[in-house]
């Protein structure tokens, strides 16, 4: 399909970006956007394409972040093994809970995923012996075969490669028979089932994929920032991820990146105005949702590029 022009363009943009950015502070913001975008792309597969609400996604992000923090510092795992361990753990947990949880619909599903996320964040907060409790814990540097990214610029390339791969994989998935089955069970579950789509199985698979991506994103975050707190697994962080997906545009991979960008930049830009940043943030959420319920990218694509654009 017409996906390669987009992916090539995205790769060029990613490659050119660090030369266009004047200072380390901005590059740091961009890195954070990239990390968030990886998790949001996964979440968008669940919410946008498969149509299943998940309000506990930060729990999986937290698993990745704390796997990288705890397994390296307390058990001496190499960072890459810890990162993979986190992804495996998050995937396994998602797989275990997927069937009973994704059987639920609408608000019951929202409740269950929310509950799962909160339980994970409470466990992380309470198991201070491993996780350092509410105060958090430092994280060792990421190192792969002797190379250890340091500074915003080196990190930028690590994150950019991961982000591009996430976008590529997600795009492949959406445009495969499995992706069709997922979109179908969002559009009409009876239709999907009538042609043989085992909906429970597909929901479970995409949930696992999203959990694994969130865990990767959490691990990158932990190593990049060098410190984690239970905040990374909190309900508010889950909400931030959902908001990025929805404001950017559900069922849009480009929207995931745009949403991550907007909602990462905004709080930073407003951080000086204590209290007002929340007011502005809340008002913006309401405004975007009322005026563009499909989200920024799909709405704008429709307006400027005709109805067929699907980035």
């Amino acid at each position: 399909m017409a996906r390669w022009p987009w992916l090539t363009g995205f790769a060029l943009l990613l490659a050119a970006l660090p030369w266009a950015v004047p200072n380390a502070y901005l590059l740091d913001v961009i890195n954070r956007i990239g990390i968030n975008a990886i998790a949001v792309i996964g979440l968008n597969l669940v919410m946008g394409y498969a149509g299943q609400v998940s309000l506990g996604h930060a729990g999986f992000f937290g698993i990745g972040a704390y796997a990288s923090a705890v397994l390296t510092s307390r058990y001496g795992w190499p960072p890459l093994a810890a990162l993979a361990g986190g992804m495996a753990g998050a995937g396994a947990l998602a797989f275990a809970v997927a069937r009973p949880i994704l059987r639920l619909k609408g608000h019951y599903l929202a409740m269950a995923t929310l509950g799962l996320g909160i339980i994970l964040s409470i466990v992380i907060t309470n198991e201070a012996g491993f996780t350092g409790g509410p105060d958090g814990m430092p994280v060792d540097a990421l190192s792969v075969a002797g190379f250890s990214p340091s500074g915003e610029r080196q990190w930028y390339f690590v994150i950019a490669v991961c982000l591009w791969c996430a976008a590529w994989l997600a795009g492949n998935l959406v445009d495969s028979p499995m992706g069709r089955a997922l979109r179908a069970l969002h559009g009409s579950e009876p239709a999907a089932r009538s042609v043989g789509v085992d909906t429970a199985r597909y929901k479970a698979r995409v949930f696992v994929i999203a959990a694994v991506l969130a865990s990767l994103s959490g691990s990158l975050f932990a190593h990049y920032v060098g410190f984690v707190t239970p905040q990374v697994a909190s309900f508010m962080h889950s909400i931030e991820l959902v908001t990025m997906a929805v404001v950017g545009g559900l069922a849009s991979i480009g929207g995931s990146v745009a949403g991550a960008a907007l909602l990462t930049v905004l709080p930073q830009a407003l951080a000086e105005f204590e209290g007002w940043e929340m007011v502005a943030f809340g008002a913006l959420l309401i405004l975007v949702m009322v005026l563009m319920p499909r989200g920024l990218v799909p709405t704008l694509a429709r307006r400027f590029g005709g109805a067929r654009a699907r980035a």
């Binding site: 919410m47 609400v53 309000l55 009973p100 949880i101 059987r103 639920l104 619909k105 609408g106 608000h107 019951y108 929202a110 409740m111 269950a112 929310l114 509950g115 799962l116 909160i118 339980i119 409470i122 466990v123 309470n126 009876p190 309900f235 508010m236 909400i239 959902v242 908001t243 929805v246 404001v247 559900l250 204590e274 209290g275 007002w276 940043e277 929340m278 007011v279 502005a280 943030f281 809340g282 008002a283 913006l284 959420l285 309401i286 949702m289 009322v290 319920p293």
Partner: protein, 290 residues
Amino acid sequence: MAEFLQFLFSGVTSGSIYALAALGFAIIFNASGVINFAQGEFIMLGGMVSVFLAAAGLALPFAVLGAVLVAVVAGLVLEKAAIEPARSAETVTLIIITIGASILIQGVAQIVFGKGQHALRPFSGEAPIVIGGASLLPQSLWVLGVSALMVAGLWLFFNRTLPGKAMLAVSANRLGAELVGIDIRRTWLTAFGLSGALGAVAGALAAPITMTSYDAGLMLGLKGFVAATLGGLGSGLGAVAGGLILGLLEAMTAGYVSSAYKDAVPFVAILLVLFFLPRGLFGSRAAERV
């Protein structure tokens, strides 16, 4: 025994607060199908505005009344400005809108009241009443009594008044209700106003027992949502039962198992319940139509 009684008292007290929070969820959900994530902020407003009006020299009853008014206005504005323009939107869009409202209200509260923690003066003294070796705060009696009154009042509202019956009709069959001339928009407005009032009363009642702050609404709101779901979304009695069950479970876990995991109890409970009963304890088991 005294120990058990002590946990029972604290469980029923917090359970009543959760029940009021859950009722707020249930009323709005019934009328509009919206889960209002800003419900917790109504509770927060009830506590915070009461504290500040009382500190400004207002007599307690007027301070609470003022807080209820503020929350009702917040509910009405939320419905008019954000819910009504988006009422045909998808579930997740409406969830984000109410979360946006929740963050906005928290922001305003932080600007007006600051970040500090506050406690409201108990309504009638602090000398505990000792029953069977366990002590009961007078404020707990206020919580229980007023909650019971609110539930009774709601029952009367839904069964004996026209607006209440209209609201039930809308929840049973929106199109049918519209066809017999019920004004859906007004019903929605009433639901949000009513939930605002319920939340504010719960917040004012709880403020002397638990401290309150600009961000106190989040956890209370979430637990209210749990209680409402536990009882089966939209069921009034289910919401009350769900709230009480949650309060008791929490108090007993905190007392006998681990107080660190007290906050996890509602969420573990709701996951277990939903695993086995996908529509809550008292939810309807209607067949799906194709």
